[in-house]
Amino acid sequence: MSHGELTGNQLPAEPEKATLEGRNKILGFWFFLGGEMVLFGSLFATFIGLRNQIADGPAPQELINLTMTAVMTLVLLTSSLTSVMAIQAMHRKDTAKMYLWFIVTFLLGLTFLILEIIEFVEYVHHGHKFTTSAYSSAFYTLVGFHGAHVTFGLGWLLTLLIPFGRKGLTVTTAPKMYVFGLYWHFVDVVWVFVFTIVYLMGKVG
């Protein structure tokens, strides 16, 4: 059993799957994402059930700025693409490129988060607060949970990238990068649903 001493061209083709630990991590993470699907599914169900209960708060049509949402979507989806480029670079053993693409992913994710914070502050000024109505509670919980997942992902990416120079790409670090990629894609897919159900359907009514 290797302890990560293989590096560079000695690395097997799919280094993340070369060890039992790596395969365990990847399978376990897929299962975790299955559980996360139930989690977000439940939050979506709550939102859909309560989306007309605006009490005396502003209606979604008034609040939602589709341009802003479109920009956020573009940013996040691109960050998912750049994470794919990173993993592809990893499979080509091009660790410098992998590192670079992950940094771009990080910056795009951070941009998304900043835009979302600006958006939420706007909403609060418009009278759409967490405590305003059942709709608003459901809105912030669903979209907020997604935002929290983005935040956690960015923190996670930092803990992977910062020691990377020292550790390099090995059969131990490869599964970690791969699993992050899975997570980031998941966060992206959830956003597609959020964008559709919360923003598009909210605007169109």
């Binding site: 990560g4 399978l27 299962f31 989690l39 405590t131 059942a134 509670s137 803990t159 992977l160």
Partner: protein
């Protein structure tokens, strides 16, 4: 490969606090689960003593509502679930011929999260009062009409729920990826199959509870409006989330118990399990149907006849695969050479008990009937028959069966049989009469009942039964203490077992198998015995065995969330954020520091022989 790092091995208390060994974690779950079982049992005794006669004043109404809430919550989440996990940990890796579970660190983390969740919930008794809205915590009783006790419920369950989820994923990956060569899925022992399916149920059911608890927490602590009708919320929403989790939860408990029954009946009749493929299929079917029936807990909500009828039919369908199992067990016994040990007595006692529970299950599955049964003592009887008569009897069978493998000692058979008979008779006395009490008009969760309504005698009988169950539990505790004072002299295979765990020493050595075995058929050990071999065929040469390092991080991470929980419920942001920060820092440390583990060298293996 040189290893210049020093190997960290702890002893004494530190060994237990830092262990990532599934066998030690099993013992931790067993002890903690046993502890909470006793607490839940005392709560039950107080309930029954209060209901011994009409208008009794042993405890007042408020205390009683806390007792019933804590009894249910403790028994399901902090006694039954951890005891199931104890056996999954102790047995599954051995049964599949593996050295440990897929994620030893997460295994430890899962335990400590459960443990601190349970401790947090029980500190409520000493702080501002235990939760009092039932283990089901229906809104708006639990949101706007209850004190801080319900916060303990929310946060305690949220923390321990994360632990359970982690455990579920762990066992799914373990069973898929870590089977010994030759151990195909259709050669897996039934307990491992059942654990695998139950773990899948955990993965998909617990996130629904997570979301429900989040909504409840946000309504209570942050002014959200999910269940507040004045702001557009809907109290039925909670019920849906709770039961989408809650119904699979009871199958998470019972499927491993079924697995234990399969093992014990097969071993003690010296016959292979009758209809193995059907048993596997039935377990999968039950697991699948478990997610289709949740609203049968909500027939009286008024969802409409179409919803009620559909959920009713789906619920009745579960009786079919369950019935298949009962008959397969009976026909395993048929033609066998049945030995009556404590373990097999519990398994044999399980059969009529669980069948009665299943029967009343079909009865409550019918909405017109359920309109009378629901929220009456009839339902209390039903679920205690399935949980005590099913899950607990199964766990007690497993306890007496696997005790030598876990602890290296035999439990005393005489005390064991005394435990069985007092507990079994007490159980039926307690709960059989409750079917009638319910139909005679006594609702559940009532702290007292009025005289002159013909409910007195049956309630008294029920209380006497509960006292007997308490006595049975005392016999069990005495048995544990008495047997722990003897030396570790249990044989490797005290029962003439059929599965891999009986091929290694009792208790199992630290590394489980000196060499991973080559599995040549179902009932892998029995196959070797029938072919005249005294030992398993190895699948690899003798070599140094790599073990994961012990670590204190899971304990500290759990303490972090424990502290954060109090911060949230007492609305102290510094404590809440501080606790979460502790957890996050531990996660970062774990990510940055590589665990190289340590090796058990060949020389150690050769002179360890049968000792751990």
């Amino acid at each position: 490969m040189a290893h210049t790092h020093t190997v960290k091995r702890y002893t004494g208390l530190m060994d237990w606090l830092t262990t990532v060994d599934h066998k030690k974690i099993a013992i931790l779950y067993l002890v903690a689960g046993g502890f909470f079982f006793v607490i839940g049992g005392l709560e039950a005794l107080l309930i029954r003593l209060q209901l011994m006669k009409p208008m009794n004043d042993l405890v007042d109404a408020s205390t009683f509502n806390q007792l019933l809430t804590m009894h249910g919550t403790t028994m399901i989440f902090f006694a039954a679930m951890p005891l199931v996990f104890a056996f999954m940990n102790a047995v599954v890796p051995l049964q599949i011929g593996a050295r440990d579970v897929a994620f030893p660190f997460l295994n430890a983390l899962g335990f400590w999260l459960f443990f601190f969740g349970g401790i947090m919930l029980n500190t409520s008794w000493f702080l501002h009062g235990a939760p009092n809205a039932g283990w089901t915590a229906y809104a708006p009783l639990s949101t706007q009409f209850s004190g801080i006790g319900v916060d303990f419920y929310v946060l305690g369950l949220q923390i321990s729920g994360i632990g359970t989820l982690i455990g579920g994923i762990n066992f799914m990956v373990t069973v898929i990826n870590m089977r010994a060569p030759g151990m195909t899925f259709m050669r897996l022992p039934m307990f491992t199959w059942a654990s695998f399916i139950a773990s899948t149920l955990i993965l998909f059911a617990f996130p629904a509870l997570t979301v429900g608890l989040v909504l409840l927490m946000f309504d209570r602590l942050f002014g959200a409006n999910f269940f507040d009708i004045s702001a557009g919320g809907n109290s039925i929403l909670w019920q849906h989330f709770f039961w989408i989790f809650g119904h699979p939860e009871v199958y998470i408990l019972v499927l491993p118990a079924f697995g234990i029954i399969s093992e014990v009946i097969s071993t003690f009749s010296s016959k292979r399990l009758f209809g193995y493929s059907a048993m596997v299929f039935a377990t999968v079917a039950i697991g699948f149907l478990a997610f289709m029936v949740w609203a049968h807990h909500m027939f009286t909500v008024g969802m409409g006849p179409v919803a009620n009828a559909l959920f009713s039919i789906a619920t009745m369908l579960i009786a079919v695969p369950t019935g298949i199992k009962i008959f397969n067990w009976l026909f395993t016994l048929w033609g066998g050479q049945i030995r009556f040990t404590t373990a097999s007595l519990f398994a044999i006692g399980f059969i009529p008990s669980f069948v009665i529970g299943g029967m009343t299950g079909v009865m409550v599955a019918s909405p017109p009937a359920d309109f009378q049964f629901h929220d009456s003592y009839f339902v209390v009887a039903h679920f205690h028959y399935t949980i005590v008569g099913g899950v607990v009897l199964g766990l007690l069978a497993g306890l007496h069966y696997w005790w030598p493998k876990i602890f290296g000692r035999m439990l005393n058979e005489k005390l064991g049989k005394l435990t069985f008979w007092t507990f079994f008779i007490g159980f039926h006395l307690t709960f059989f009469v409750q079917h009638f009490i319910g139909l005679m008009g006594m609702p559940r969760r009532v702290y007292t009942f009025l005289p002159g309504q013909e409910l007195d005698t049956l309630n008294l009988i029920s209380t006497i039964g509960a006292i007997l169950m308490g006595i049975g539990t005392i016999f069990l505790v005495v048995n544990v203490i008495v047997s722990s004072m003897k030396g570790k002299d249990a044989p490797a295979d005290p029962w003439d077992g059929r599965t891999l765990e009986w091929a290694i020493a009792s208790p199992a050595p630290e590394y489980n198998f000196k060499q991973l075995p080559l599995v040549r058929g179902y009932d892998a050990l029995f196959k070797e015995k029938m072919d005249g071999r005294s030992e398993l065929t190895p699948a690899e040469p003798l070599g140094p065995i790599h073990m994961p390092s012990p670590t204190i991080l899971p304990l500290i991470m759990s303490i972090g969330l424990f502290i954060a929980g109090y911060g949230f419920m007492y609305q102290n942001n510094y404590v809440a954020v501080g606790g979460i920060l502790v957890t996050f820092i531990c996660m970062i440390i774990r990510s940055l520091k590589d665990d190289h583990g340590f090796h058990i060298e060949v020389e150690e293996l050769q002179d360890k022989g049968a000792k751990a």
